[in-house]
Subunit: 341 residues, 2 copies
């Protein structure tokens, strides 16, 4: 069962444990500053497949297999898989999961999917429904570029505010039994926020207000402050959105700068990798959470952290129709084994 | 809390009540045999908007408002909204919900979304997370045709197996308090099933095996038979898929024919409305559940029913790449107030 902390905000009365997790990334991500943290860096951006879409599916599938293997599990041990991605009709997830034969709930939260999956899985497990869930997501530079921007061969110019969709995937195995593991202790479901940004090449600016809304609600609902956390991590606001987010939080009276990290800003060396405002995509936050932060929580280096993944809930068609970009930010509180209560 | 009945199958120990529901449909749907059951039939297929996509968003938004009004509620009374649709990046839902300011979880289950939303909301409420959720979905003939098949002005020929995407929306308000209302007493989460159908104009055939898998699992897990139900309802298998589904169930030893209905087959008069194998789309099952079946459960005419919405989890791009169509069927057991236990 869970306890309400406010609207859409809940404290887990029984800990939901992170039994294992895995991250797989592409070549460019492997060459960046985070390259060492992934379970695997795949040099073939096609992942042995004929098309980019099938490549992304394969990457997500292998990430889930890896996470299960690390916990000595197979798909048969999983009650429910929750997954989603950026690609039309979430096919990266549906084709990825086709061979698993596991009850499946499809999610759409754009780049917020990793957090949305962790929240939904945690609440479902808190109801007593099953013992073990997997939450997974992925993104691929080549599937996303041609769907959201231009065909790769067009060679479109990217403005300085643009981010680079990461080729990466993250998967988390959640259960109610592996005591001592990192645990999800609270969640906050985001509200759709839209301050009128219409520039699809400046997603960070569109998403920053959603992140600020969610984090402010969390601090108020829990009476916590940035000082209570070793790390406050956003998914892919990037350099520009991350700066805006810190400013918005400062206006609310919260100085998060000392413990703030953004996975999009961490993923690449923007000076040498030509990635402008940083990484983006569902797989960006998903892979750095699973490859970098969760191991730090497991080792106890991080005792208590917030993972907030933000999503821009738009499509190219609605932007072409002159619409602004609605965004969302979902928040998950993760504590180390010693901090569980 | 819930009790497990098998993998991905759960019985609600505390009833999750259907406090209210609403259905809005378009002109053609209003002219069909079910025309009288909707809360509103809108003669303007643009719903007062400039584009089809904005029309679908507006329809879904007004359906949610209607459902809330029928329960004398406003959006402020809702803890979480769960919604999804067929359109790329689920924008019909995200733009629909933008003004509500309610914590939002986006779903992608294609035409299974109404059932996926009811399942996810029921499990979340069973965890104690909040008191009231809304599950909603929609589809629109004109948004779906141009996205999945051809531009409307192309005038493409439709084969006899093709179905007609309904312009319709359904929304359900779920809570833990309105005793005596129809209630969700059990759920079964679907598994992705793919028997190799590659014809995007024969979705019913692609989805029938998923429905048979879910219903067979449910009967085995609960030790129930078709005789225990006044109605077993699928979302949009249509005439061809529905017939296949009955045959597949017969092979499993279950004769469902006497109580079986398919919302896609019910929606139109195929002889006079030129709709071939019947209606389809998330809004098809959603609107007929909310407009026709739930009122029958409320009045006690139906004491116990199963609502199964099926979804084809493909995209035009993956079909163009030669892939077959993975499908899913999610099941919800609904009982009348007098049957609650």
């Amino acid at each position: 069962m869970v306890k309400s902390l406010g609207r859409g905000m809940f404290h887990m009365e029984q800990s939901i444990y992170i039994a294992s997790c895995a991250a797989i990334a592409g070549k460019k991500e492997g060459e960046g500053p985070m390259g060492q943290c992934f379970d695997r860096v795949e040099m073939d951006s096609h992942f042995g497949q004929e098309t980019w879409e099938k490549a992304e599916s394969r990457m997500q599938q292998e990430t889930i297999y890896t996470a299960l293997q690390k916990a000595s599990l197979t798909a048969d041990d999983v009650d429910i898989i929750l997954a989603g991605d950026l690609i039309n009709q979430c096919t990266s997830s549906t084709y990825s999961l086709r061979p698993f034969g596991v009850p499946f709930l499809g999610l759409f939260g754009a780049c917020s999917t990793m957090a949305e999956g962790l929240i939904t899985a945690s609440l479902i497990l808190s109801s007593g429904a099953g013992k073990r869930c997997v939450a997974a997501t992925s993104s691929h530079f080549s599937t996303a570029e041609r769907q959201f921007r231009f065909p790769l061969s067009y060679g479109g110019q990217r403005p300085p505010t643009a981010q680079w969709t990461c080729t990466a995937s993250g998967a988390v195995v959640l259960d109610t039994e592996t005591e001592g593991s990192p645990a999800i202790s609270g969640v906050c479901i985001g509200k759709i926020t839209d301050l009128g940004v219409t520039d699809a090449n400046n997603m960070g600016a569109a998403m920053a207000p959603a992140a600020a809304d969610t984090l402010t609600r969390w601090f108020k609902g829990t009476c916590r402050t940035p000082n209570d956390y070793d790390a406050i991590v956003t998914g892919d606001l990037g350099m520009i959105g991350g700066k805006l987010f810190m400013e918005l939080m400062m206006k609310q009276g919260y100085e998060i700068n000392p413990c703030y990290h953004d996975c999009g800003a961490m993923m690449f060396d923007s000076l040498t990798q030509d990635t402008h405002a940083g990484g983006s995509g569902c797989g960006c936050g998903g892979s750095i959470l699973c490859g970098h932060f969760l191991p730090l929580v497991k080792s106890g280096s991080i005792k208590r952290m917030l993972f907030m993944a933000t999503g821009a809930l738009m499509s190219p068609m609605l932007v072409q129709q002159g619409e602004s970009i609605p965004s969302i930010a979902h928040l998950v509180e993760i504590v180390s084994g010693k901090e569980n209560d």
